[in-house]
Symmetry: D2
Subunit: 282 residues, 4 copies
């Protein structure tokens, strides 16, 4: 909400900016039982609607509003028929539905955070309906405004660590700089990746697995002079390998591992004993 | 990082977009001991630097980079002299400092999240150096790019609840709508407010306390036909009262309180017994 | 579950130890609307049942089990009539109910964690039905086994801080000791208190407020040579003031505030600039 | 702290009960670099000391106290030489050390929570110094009081889910029971296991991996009539397989997955679309 540069509305120059509302944290689990080998999708869904909601805001007129409870019902109802494979395909259906369902809705954004499960292996065989939770999360975002859809995907909460082949040297030294240079440190970070696709017809599952594999492979394949350079190499490797991807955004906050000062006790510490600093660095 | 519309760089059409880095979660506590009545500031500080960091990203050249460790040192060092009152004033100093300190820095953003403490009262008197933590948080943001500063402030984590004088009626009914209408429900939300100031010379503390007071007062002064309308009224009341404020953004996710169905047990429940739904609604 | 010292059961020496189950995290909100001045109770309830559940565990025979869903229903149903004042009184009713309701139940424990709300004050007057969340939590525990009830209460999440009048000196120095002694440091802790009452007829609300007040008052009234000594003084003061209380357990993990080393930058730091260490110390 | 049944001490009948203190959340990372194939241990360590700390509590006399800062230093210092394999072996050294180091210490308890890392696989080969975080945690506890050591281990945060072959029938039906019976539901839980060993010389790593494998295998091998019965079967299978284990405690809070009511929309839902209830049930 803002003050208009010059007055001119009945509200004394105050006007409503862009508004959105929606339902977040819908915890949907879908089981596909077509065969004895069940398929499981476990996903949090956030739906955000943008549009002309001025009547509701300014005059308390709810006529054109979809209740958030209705939004939740809709996610579960449409999941029955339309969540039969990749979450991105389901997202496309949801966006199309909400663009039609809400008379004042101009733009819809659906975001998924999928929890990953592996099949339990017993005696070397994957079980048909038993699962154990894996680390990390797969994300996806579908947006649409009536003029077309835009699909993106991502990886959340992927923790990686190299015990060597990483350093931090040659940086700016000034009055408040005390950090020593090093050509051998622990590099640890929690990778968050978000990318967007050129089109909407993509092998979403295959590309997602390929991106994850590529990010890990690139992490290992070079001496890292800085998190920045490693981030660049990872992003570049993904773009070079997957032409389906238009752009990628990476966040690699540094989880510092500080060699513990054991010299005070007459003990040498050559890259062996570290304090893992809980303070992140974005 | 993105793929260029048409190739033309030595990187095969791949180019680096806007980059930023910094140090987040610096946990600074400052005590002012000028008199026996100590003053306490307890604040998390996030510093983000934007600029031309292509050398570091693409070529692994750290020459122009301030280490994030240096950023942290600087926050503590400058706090000694410059954190003597409102956090916004300290933020202005930090932004100016980092714009100068980093040769490649083009834009600096400092964000504060201040934990609030009340003085402990013993026998009706406020203690001089003993404090108890209060609910909620005060935030502030200062940004600068060499061409001027921009100051904002906010409120985080302010939980409010009305047991009546709130409803949700007349909304759109369609296939997936099951929610009954009501003219008497619990309204509960966690208020997050962020506003920006016209200038940089403001009574930051006084306005902050006034905004908080106004948001609470407006919450109580009307029948709420929707969270949207109450949000609008709250924002409008703040803008009308404080001409220093240019615009304000409010988020009021609905914390649903659902009347528990006691009829199944032959018990009436007239707005008395509720299940507090942990699912938020943004 | 354990292995018997000597075999002798049909299970090859393996026997089931004490078992319990229940429903935790029931989020109950009760509004009392007898007058226009509404009263609000917002509480999480955990119910644990102990007893002879061997049939269910060993033979899969659920005959004597109350479903946890039933436990939840019961909490809401009984709240209508019986949650009319202090949570401890409601707890007594719940324990009595579950001892009767479950044929195999031998012992019931109900634990409450109450979120505290203050009335919103507008123009110096407390509002009748509008509330803002306060800091900290009130807890209560009621236990019973058919032979009587036992009531306890507590305080959770009460953060306190003294900027001076606290030290840490004269402690043991040995090979791995590097911490300097100090007679002036920040003392900060999050107080958790749990106490039990002699009987079951107590002014639960009055005593609770009195304990909280006393803990804060004692914190301020002495030079603290250690968290241990301050903890002892706080507990002792509570027991001396409230004869209703049989025993009290206090936990005061040290939230260290470390003077930031500014000497490296030629800046003096006399108890003014601190790093708040996120690592707790129990 | 408690009130004595009859008075008789100089403190007016108030006496100090058992006290403990220590350092929790020490975030230790150890890298073993004997060969190019680095070994990584990433563990949080909690040290608790029990003993006769009355002088410190009652009289503010710190003479016999190890500072918690010293405890932390010691964990890092001893890790250099003694954390060379399983965390249980390191725990034995720590307990022995602290029993000697603190003159008033009578009992020591060290608890580990180990974060698990997998090697990153590139082109089918495990990388020598690059790791990706795995799900779940390994725990261990070593206790000693001078008369001997006691070692235990455990599993934390192991999420499992079966999409079928689980039910909940034949339970008690009474006034507040509304839950329908079912012979086909989702069973989901987060397994926490804690066990103790007969002796202190055990193949800690091998047994730990075996217990995890057995818990998962037993989960899959039967129709589950209740979480209680499945818990019993899992514990029994572990005790039958590993004679090294004296007893085991299991916690399997039910993470309810509720079939979403789609009939209201004319849609059938035969075990396919679920709402994952965020409320746990212990």
């Amino acid at each position: 909400m803002a003050r208009a540069p010059e007055s001119g509305t009945d509200a004394g120059g105050i006007f409503l900016g862009q508004t959105s509302y929606g339902k977040s944290d819908v915890r949907l689990v879908k089981v596909r039982r077509d065969t004895d080998r069940h398929e499981l999708t476990d996903v949090r869904v956030d739906v955000a609607l943008e549009g002309d909601f001025e009547a509701a805001h300014v005059r308390g007129d709810n006529t054109g509003l979809l209740a958030t409870d209705t939004i939740r019902n809709t996610v579960y109802a449409l999941a029955k028929e339309h969540l039969t494979g990749e979450i991105e395909e389901f997202g496309k259906k949801l966006v199309e539905h909400f663009l039609e369902a809400g008379p004042a809705v101009e733009r819809v954004r659906v975001r998924f955070t999928e929890h990953l499960w592996d099949r339990i292996t017993v005696d070397g065989r994957e079980h048909e309906h038993s699962f154990v939770r894996a680390a990390g999360e797969r994300t996806a975002t579908v947006e649409g405004d009536g003029g077309g859809l835009r699909v993106g995907a991502g990886i959340d909460d992927l923790l990686v660590l190299k015990t060597t082949n990483s350093g931090w040297e040659g940086f700016l030294r000034e009055r408040y700089t005390t950090l020593p240079e090093t050509d051998d440190r622990i590099l640890s970070t929690v990778v968050t990746a978000d990318w967007t696709y050129h089109g909407t017809d993509v092998d979403f599952g295959g590309v997602w697995r390929g991106v994850r594999e590529q990010l890990l492979a690139t992490l290992t394949d070079h001496y890292s002079p800085s998190v920045q350079n490693t981030l660049y190499r990872m992003g570049r490797a993904v773009l070079e390998r997957f032409s389906e991807i238009e752009k990628i955004h990476l966040s690699l906050p540094n989880r510092h591992h500080i060699p513990y000062d054991l010299q005070r006790f007459g003990i040498e510490n050559e890259g062996e004993v570290f304090h893992a600093d809980p303070d992140p660095t974005a």
